[in-house]
């Protein structure tokens, strides 16, 4: 960072968020000719967000081994035709090139004896449809290498800087403000182009190592007047009820089984094609239906794994294996007991909503780009596609960095509005001085109690969504403006609570709007996937009066190659529930 005469930090390209998307953005911004690239993270670049804890597998299309048409078709079908199909093709064609670069930089991948990438069937692949395959990397080693690469290229890294708001000059983003999460010092950056790569929100929900993902990027884009899209899509996942564990995908690819309280494998009944490899929303729906029928709790069984398989897991997913050893699940090289498994409201991590972007990763605001979970997911619409988060962070991060560098080169000096900067500074100082009021811990728990309910985030209906919305509005009205902080650490919780509550309201309003059941949106009052009326994108932004505004756009299918049938079909989860004798409706 260079200090300009006005006392701002300055950057040609400012990148917010130091996970995989942010690191790739920084690398490609440098490669694209930007001289002064600054990468900031609220924790530490390389040890933050999802990427440092990513569970060892990436779905990659290799042109020398795979059929592009098949991958393209499956991606669009699993996205239930809400994808930006241009992005799907671009993504599939780009990922493998970046993977090969990562390997050159030193990222370790599991290889066969012949030196090829070792590949296994991904989620959404089975013996019947063996298309989508994954490769394996060595957990946190990947981000250690990326951090080193970023530094080698001369990118300025600023750890422990949490960006809170964007600086704007009319419709143009000209930088950002935030604070140091250790010292509390207020910071301000002037930038020709900005990339938001700070993830989505996981609502500090049941899932491992995602507690810093509280929707900062989405919230600041919304506050600056930018568009967010696909916010109705709650990302579903499932995890251990007892501990925060990662790695369900890789465990499933090794043959882990879900069983209900009677010991019966049930997922295959809900999805006969992909079975235990089904999409995340199908797991969540199937578990909710089984519990509704009195067949809960649900267990995850890996007791049949061989010792060799456990040793392999120790290499590719070391942190989770340590946890299971500490919890007495793995003893020696054997799984000795089943774990209780529950669906989790994963917010919009991995496959949910985010900034509406075009093929250049540009948002609706000038000079602002978004990548990874901060943007609206691959191909804008792929619900529950297997492990799309990591390859998407790579391709969108790289594209955002490249295009932000180009935009920075084409932009002259930018002007920071001193009044706006002073207002942000003043609000920050006032918020830090707050005495008395509501504990942010209470507000966070209040939001979670509203949204981590199966009748809200898994199988919902108008009454349950409206009740949740009313509760969130009440939290935003009565608690959020009155939160107090004891020190800079608890001020982080104040911001977490504030942004989580905003994201929850954007999600519930979008969910209420989609009057059909499509992929991860499973509404028992509208149980049909409605291709006649609902091939639409739901977009959220801010109305002038600070209210959340919703608008609809037709999916531009006329531009795309794959076309859906214009019909209405009962959502698979409701059809399967009928077969399993579970009541709904």
């Amino acid at each position: 960072m260079k200090n300009s005469e006005e006392g701002h930090g300055t950057a040609d390209v400012l990148i917010v968020g130091g996970g995989l998307a942010g690191a790739f953005a920084a690398i490609k911004a440098k490669a694209g000719g930007a001289k002064n690239v600054v990468l900031v993270d609220r924790a530490k670049v390389g040890k933050s967000g999802c990427s440092a804890f990513a569970a060892g597998v990436i779905a990659v299309f290799f042109p020398e081994e795979d059929d592009l048409e098949e991958w393209y078709k499956i991606t669009v079908e699993l996205g239930d035709y809400l994808n930006d199909q241009d992005w799907v093709l671009y993504h599939l064609n780009e990922t493998h090139k970046h993977i090969k670069d990562m390997e050159k930089w030193g990222v370790a991948f599991e290889k066969t004896k012949e030196g090829r990438f070792e590949r296994r069937l991904m989620r959404c692949a089975s013996d019947k449809v063996p298309t989508i395959k994954q490769i394996m990397f060595h957990g946190p080693q990947m981000m250690d290498v990326l951090r080193k690469k970023v530094l080698e290229l001369g990118v300025t890294i600023m750890d422990r800087v949490r960006i809170t708001d964007l600086l704007t000059d009319n419709d143009r983003v000209v930088g950002a403000v935030g604070f140091n999460t250790v010292t509390g010092e207020f910071v301000s950056f002037k930038a020709r182009a900005t990339v938001i790569a700070s993830g989505g929100t996981a609502y500090k929900s049941l899932f491992a190592s995602h507690k810093m993902l509280s929707g900062d990027g989405h919230a600041m884009i919304w506050r600056a007047g930018g568009d967010l899209m696909h916010y109705e899509r709650g990302a579903h996942h499932a995890t251990c009820a007892w501990y925060d564990l990662l790695g369900m995908n890789i465990f499933v690819s090794f043959g882990a089984k879900f069983v209900n309280s009677a010991g019966e494998e049930f997922v295959g009944d809900y999805d006969p094609i992909y079975q235990d490899h089904t999409q995340t929303y199908m797991y969540a729906g199937a578990m909710a239906m089984e519990v509704r029928a009195g067949r809960g709790p649900i267990f995850f069984d890996m007791t049949h794994f061989s010792e060799e398989e456990v040793r392999k897991l120790r290499t590719v997913i070391p942190l989770s294996v340590s946890k299971m050893e500490r919890g007495g699940i793995i003893v020696g090289d054997k799984f000795v007991k089943k774990m209780e498994w529950v669906p989790t409201n994963f917010g919009n991590i991995g496959s949910g909503g985010g900034a509406k972007i075009d093929l250049d990763c540009k948002t609706s605001l000038e000079s602002l780009y978004a990548a990874g979970d901060a943007a609206c997911g691959i191909g804008a619409g792929t619900y529950g596609f297997p492990l799309i988060a990591i390859p998407w962070a790579i391709t969108s991060g790289a594209r955002a960095g490249e295009m932000a560098a180009k935009a920075a080169a084409e932009t002259g000096d930018v002007r920071v509005n001193k009044n706006q900067e002073n207002d942000f500074h003043g609000s920050y100082m006032a918020a830090r001085k707050t005495k008395g009021g509501v504990d942010p811990e209470h507000a966070i728990l209040s939001v979670q109690e509203v949204i981590i309910r199966p009748d809200v985030y898994i199988i919902s209906r108008e009454e349950t969504i409206k009740a949740a919305l009313a509760a969130i509005e009440e939290i935003r009205r009565d608690q959020i403006p009155n939160l107090y902080s004891l020190d800079v650490q608890s001020y982080n919780l104040v911001l977490d609570a504030c942004n989580m509550a905003l994201c929850a309201e954007m999600w519930l309003r979008s969910l209420l709007t989609r009057k059909e059941s499509r992929a991860g949106v499973m509404r028992e009052d509208y149980p049909y996937r409605d291709n006649v009326n609902w091939l639409k994108w739901i977009i959220v932004n801010k109305a002038g009066d600070e209210k959340i505004k919703i608008r609809l756009e037709d999916v531009p299918l006329h531009k795309f190659r794959m076309q859906p049938t214009k019909d209405k079909q009962l959502h698979r989860i409701f059809e399967a529930a009928k077969r399993r004798g579970v009541q709904w409706g």
Partner: protein, 72 residues
């Protein structure tokens, strides 16, 4: 539970855990020669500190530090 203890006999005060913790849970003590747990409730049981500690002075459990509602 999250991070449960830092063995002060073993700790060499290198600051690796302080530097790596994504949640600012650990700080160096006033003398700057030992790591100590400051914000225990923010621990997300990610195990990075335990894994990265060069002298194996840190012990973490996988239990959740904060109460998080379960779906049922």
């Amino acid at each position: 539970m999250g991070i449960r203890r830092i063995d002060t006999e073993k700790c060499i005060g290198c600051g690796t855990c302080v530097d790596d913790c994504p949640m600012n849970v650990i700080v160096l003590n006033e003398e700057g020669n030992k790591a100590e747990i400051k914000y225990l409730r923010d621990c997300q049981s990610c195990f990075l500190c335990e894994v990265e500690c060069p002298v194996s002075a840190i012990f973490v459990t996988p239990h959740r530090e904060r109460r998080i509602p379960l779906p049922w």
